[in-house]
Amino acid sequence: MDWVTAVWAMLIGGCVAMALSHLFVGMWQRRGAHLCFVVAAAAVIGIAVGELFMIRATSVEQFARAQQWTHLPILILVVALVAFVRLYFRTGRVWLGVAVCAVRFVSPIINLAFPPGLNFHEITALSHIHFLGETVSVPVAVISSWTLLGELSSLLLLVFVINASIRLWRRARPNDRGIHRFGNAARLPLCVSASVCLLLLTSFCAAGAESKRVLVVHSFGTVAPPFTTHSTAFEAELVKRMGNRVDLDEVSLDMARYAAPDMQEALVDYLEKRGANWKPDLVVPIGGPAGIFVAKFRHRLFLNIPVLYCSLDRRLLGPDAFDENTTFVGANYEVRGFAEDILQIAPDTKNIAIVIGATPLEQYWTEAFRKGFEPFTDRVNFIWLNDLSFDQMLERVKALPPHSFIFLILFLRDAAGVTQNADEALQRLHAVANAPINSIFTSQMGLGIVGGRLYPSTEDGMRAAETAVRILNGASPSSFPPRIVPPSSPRYDGRELRRWKIDERYLPPGSAILFQTPTVWQQYRGWIIAALSVCVVQAVLIAGLVANLIRRRRAEGSLVESERRFHVMADATPVLIWMSGVNKLCTFFNKPWLEFTGRSMEQELGNGWADGVHADDLQKCFKTYTEAFDARQPFVMQYRLRRNDGEYRWISDEGVARYNAQGKFAGYIGSCVDVTELINKDAALRESEERMRLAADAANLGIWEWDLGNDEVWATNARRALLGWPASGKVTFEDFISQVHPSDRNRIREIIDCAIDEGKDFDSEYRLVLPDGIVRWMATRGSVHFDKDGRPARVLGISIDITARKEAETEAKQRRDELSHLTRVALIGEMSASIAHELNQPLAGIASNARAGQRFIDRGNIDLQEIRDLLTDISADARRASEVMRQIRGMIRKEQTPRQRINLNDIVMKVVHMVGPDALLHSCDLKTSLDERSPTVEADPIQMQQVLVNLIMNAFDATREIPVSSRKVEITTEQNGDGTVCTSVRDYGAGISGETSERMFEQFFTTKTEGLGMGLAIVRSIVESHGGKIEAENVEGGGARFNFILPTSPEIPK
């Protein structure tokens, strides 16, 4: 597989891959754009295949057919590209796209209608040029003007794509929100359009770069130095610069052989015919004869075609050879110079033999040289050999007189008519001549000439090629002034100099001597120098080593000294010291270390010390060590090391790299300290902190600290979360206060300010309003801490969420009130005897009185006074009854009566009256003993009644078992000196048993078979809610006494 096919195949493969992937994408996404891309890729494959055929075409027909068929995929490609751009970008002017397609569509039609095709009017031949080292076929053809159509469609396509991408980009740009989405999308069209443009532009260039035709007109045959040297150089340079864009054709006048005028005419005809089919873009005559020929017949053959005269002496051309369409690159041979050269290097030359041929050109030059050498004829005898045959010349040069020099000008055809090769002739002459030879051109160096200021033969060919390229690219020939290539710097063949014993002193300054056989020195210079330098190096090394040894001895001495000092210090310090070498293995442990571990140095060396490291820490220890070691970085690590008593102690090991005196890395040295205590303390501290945090979190405690200096509040995460503060960030006191309930804010502010001023602790309860509106009760306790100047610096505090407790308290109070009410109601029930009795008495009275009144009236003798009395009694009784009801209602009422200043004695009396009937029922005697000072308390009168009634009823129950005569209940009030009043209810019953006395105030504890057990509990709660307390005791003389103490309220001064 050759390169071209390989490359093309790779391209095709790439296209296939892209096509397939886009096919899958297109089918998956169902976007037409991708399918268009697939089609485009397929079209590219088609084009590539077509091109491959074109490249490999062996005949014109094949090429033409391949070309024609290639246009079809090109059309498909264009259509697919247009569709792709339109679908993918969703922009692009439709009419433009349609125009592109339409134009392109025309091309295959034209292709088929006008063979050989769109691009070429006619393909005349297939020339082969080198491309990537392989020969490819390139058409030699006349470009058809239909090419413009193809180019137009390409241009339109380019415009279409650019327009579409600009529209898409503009559409994407101002949309800031979607910039990211479109960012990629905006880049995409740019990429795609850029690549498409690039593709089109390259196709433009390729299309535009049609081959340029250059016609080289040779003067002599294919091998006619120096002319062919020039032309070879010229052609090589031209092809190098233009590659296969230049179509090079050559024609040779072969003036060596054919110089007759009719031959010229035939040649002109021939060239005319050729030019009809193949018009060159540049004519390059090489050599004098070609130049003259071209100048002469320009008007017939190469009208309006640029001409580049190359490799000839300007004087050969007349002035009419030059116009604005010509230019010249050649030489101006200075004849004198040649003679001067010879005389310079061989001053005692007496004879110069001139070798030259007999073509008209040579004849011209013979004359020119004769003229040129005239000044030297008095010094030198010129022997002209131009009329000899070559063989004769050879004979002549074998036996030249001494002090001779041979000079070869041109040798194309000898006098005998034999075509010659000047270079070969030179060599043959050189072989037999007995005198040194010289010639004109640098290319002849090494063939036997001595040398001098020679004219370059290749250089002017290259210069001519440069100019040709520029002309072909469109420059006007007149912009290139005629270029004379001067002789190059003097150069001499060293062998000839030696052979002819020419003294180098005669050489002009700046001469180059070539082909010298080097002297021994020159030949083996390298070896000699190498040997010498080896010796020198050796000597230096030895000296260096000796010096080094001396120095080392000295250093060792001081090293030993310093080592000793180090050892002394290392063993004296309490710190554990170790050293390791460059291989990480330990080399030294100081005495404290060895004593600590209780091992010997041998045991610890190398990696033996690792035996003492705790298994859990070993991995990490090694890792830290080796990593730091490799990086030559200091390290600190902690690990457990086994002490001589077997206990593992925490060691903090710090190691640094150490360097020797030269600064070279020598290993590590480290020191260790026992940090067990610190670590334990640290661990303990951390543990305790953690515990505290856990406890705080568990108890819903928020811990906070207010730095008074910078007004920053720090709080635990739990508290931050509770308050809705972010997990980090500065929080000020005001932030905190703003979350306190408005009604509590001032109070809290005051409390805290007061605490700060007085340096006291504070605690309070307040409500927080959380960010979501929920209100929570907090209990905070805080203390103020002072800085060293005694100024308040920080406030530390703990807050607990007590919402639950508060809620529970409220609920409990509610329950208690309810229960209190219920027991009041129950109490009413218990007092039913009293109630019933109290109601029934007046009712009975009313009934009796009323009936009696009726009977009186029925009887007839109406004593009005009697009636009046009767009615009065009735209303009195009715009032009495309603009073009882009122009292009952008061007891049953659920709402609490407000607390008021009440006289305790009055309450007692009222209650006594209330329970009178019950006392009778129980046959109990009720006695009161009231403090004369009439103590007043701030209390709820109904609740006080409830308390007394309860206690008294209990007292009645207690007297059930004892004989009637001893049934007594005593109620006393007594004002104590300390601002309290004590009320007691005493019975003479059986007293309180031990178990009962402990539990009697409990809820649901009762000794009654039908009791609720709430009475005493309620009593206690009422007493305590009034700020008092209640207790019970057994009394001497039998029975129990219940005392409750209430704080008095100061009397209103009467």
Binding site: Q841, A844, S848, F856, E866, D877
Partner: protein, 213 residues
């Protein structure tokens, strides 16, 4: 029986009740006396005529029930009507079993009370009459000699004269003589009358040993 005047007594610690009751009784043409407490009443000498006592149960000092017991103890004959502001069944049962006429919870219907009073007075009258008869019979019985008394006792058990004689250890003739004499003293003509008489007198029957018949 002498028709003494009827008297109704009211014992209640509550003034309203007392006043009301007195008026009511007066309106029914009953004479009444009111007392604040049972002790006051007991201090008064008993009324020689039919008497009814309306008494409240719940009273300080001596309550109604104690009062009833006291009356029974003194063999007083007044008929009791209990009224109470707060009564329960056991109390009612107790006083009724102990011989009360009725038990009325307050507030009572006036008509009911008056009916009870009338009933009580009737019973009182009846009782007085019965008591008078008994006293008479007792007097007569006291005229009997002991032997005559024994014979009477045995005869009332239905024993034949011979049996009586056997029981007492005397001849049948003697028994006959005693029998005749006691019957004459007592004013009865037949055994049946004798039995009635004895019953009226309230003499308990003798304890009999095994009848050897």
């Amino acid at each position: 029986m002498t028709s003494q005047s009827q008297l109704v007594f009211v014992i209640d610690d509550d003034e309203s009740v007392r006043k009301g009751l007195k008026r009511l009784l007066r309106s029914a043409n009953y004479e009444s006396e009111v007392f604040k407490s049972a002790s006051d009443f007991l201090a008064r000498p008993p009324h020689p005529g039919p008497a009814c006592v309306i008494v409240d149960v719940q009273m300080p000092g001596v309550n109604g029930i104690d009062f009833q017991k006291a009356l029974i103890q003194r063999r007083r004959e007044e008929q009791l009507v209990f009224i109470t502001g707060y009564g329960n069944i056991p109390m009612c049962a107790q006083v009724m079993k102990a011989g009360a006429v009725d038990f009325l919870p307050k507030p009572f219907k006036s008509r009911e009370l008056l009916k009870c009073v009338e009933h009580a007075l009737d019973r009182s009258t009846e009782q007085r009459r019965g008591a008078a008869e008994r006293n008479e019979a007792r007097r007569l019985l006291d005229l009997l000699t002991p032997r005559e008394f024994e014979v009477m006792q045995l005869v009332t058990t239905g024993m034949l004269n011979k049996q009586v004689g056997g029981e007492l250890g005397v001849a049948e003739k003697t028994v006959k003589v005693h029998r005749g004499r006691l019957m004459q003293k007592l004013g009865v003509t037949s055994v049946a009358e004798l039995v009635h008489f004895v019953q009226r007198a309230g003499v308990p029957p003798p304890v009999r040993s095994e009848t050897k018949v």
